[in-house]
């Protein structure tokens, strides 16, 4: 299953709508990195609300995506981790180190625009 990537102004939104195989996730990572360059995007929001679980491979791939996007000069926020998924991650010992997270898409957008405002005011 391909993850749709939507363009919204300077942002890209990748919306994971169902359980993904490892290959789907890796393809999503590549497509996102590609699109950030093509669209000169400033930020990426990854909506994972459709994921049934986040296991160690998924967690690592989300970290990889965030790092890749950062290296391309954009910011990344993971949004929509389901409560039971978050609980399982904590129990398993999985943490998304270095990954910005927000409750949902709205909060993710707010986080990004707040960050942009801070950068503007300090710069």
């Amino acid at each position: 299953m391909t993850v749709p990537i939507l363009k919204q102004g300077d942002y890209l939104i990748g919306s994971i709508q169902s359980a993904l195989t490892d290959t789907d996730l890796i393809e999503f990572r590549s497509a996102l990195a590609d699109q950030v360059g093509k669209n000169r995007s400033r930020a990426v929001i990854i909506d994972v609300s459709g994921l049934d679980i986040i296991d160690s491979f998924t967690a690592r791939t989300l970290q990889d995506i965030t790092n890749t996007v950062k290296l391309k000069g954009a910011r990344a926020v993971v949004v929509g981790i389901q409560p039971q998924v978050a609980f399982a991650m904590v129990q398993l010992g999985l943490y998304l180190d270095g990954v910005a997270t927000a409750l949902d898409l709205d909060e993710g957008l707010a986080l990004l625009s707040a960050g942009a405002a801070r950068r503007t005011s300090s710069g």
Binding site: D22, D52, Q84, A88, L94
Partner: protein, 149 residues
């Protein structure tokens, strides 16, 4: 992917579920199938949704280990009973290369693969019973159980 259904006893609530499910694991899509079937059984057994996610995550880790290290194997998911308690049992087995250093494989952060090195130790942490038998050149068998609280 093949799924065998064995005898189907009735659970309280009138649902009919399989006593044991066997999922042949040989490609990535089987990882998803195995965890979804496990989750469905956990739901029928009365596990809370947070625990269903835990069980699904554990199955995902175990099934991925099969695909990644052994190439093929199987996941058996069963209904367990002990002292009047119900639980779910998951056995992941393969005839793969085996684990040379089991103790290290159970340490947080140790991985020879592409995960975070939390698959086995994390699975051990989240399940109530955990048993790992591995022999180099013969294969690996991980049996875990979780009881309904």
């Amino acid at each position: 992917m093949r799924v065998w259904l064995c005898s189907a006893p009735a659970l309280p609530g009138g649902h009919l579920v399989a006593d044991e499910l066997r999922i042949a694991v040989q490609s990535e899509i089987d990882i998803v199938t195995a965890r979804q079937k496990g989750r469905a059984l956990a739901a029928q057994l009365g596990f809370a949704s947070s625990e269903q996610a835990l069980i699904a995550t554990a199955i995902s880790e175990l099934a991925r280990n099969i695909v990644q290290y052994a190439g093929r194997g199987q996941v058996d998911i069963s209904i367990e009973q002990k002292n009047g308690r119900k639980g779910i049992g998951v056995v992941a087995s393969d005839q793969g290369p085996g684990i040379p250093d089991v103790r290290r494989a159970l340490e947080d952060g140790f991985s020879t693969g592409r995960g975070l090195g939390l698959g086995l130790p994390g699975t051990k942490r989240i399940m109530d019973d955990f048993e790992l038998v591995s022999e180099v050149g013969k294969g690996t068998r991980v049996a875990v159980k979780k009881w309904v609280h």
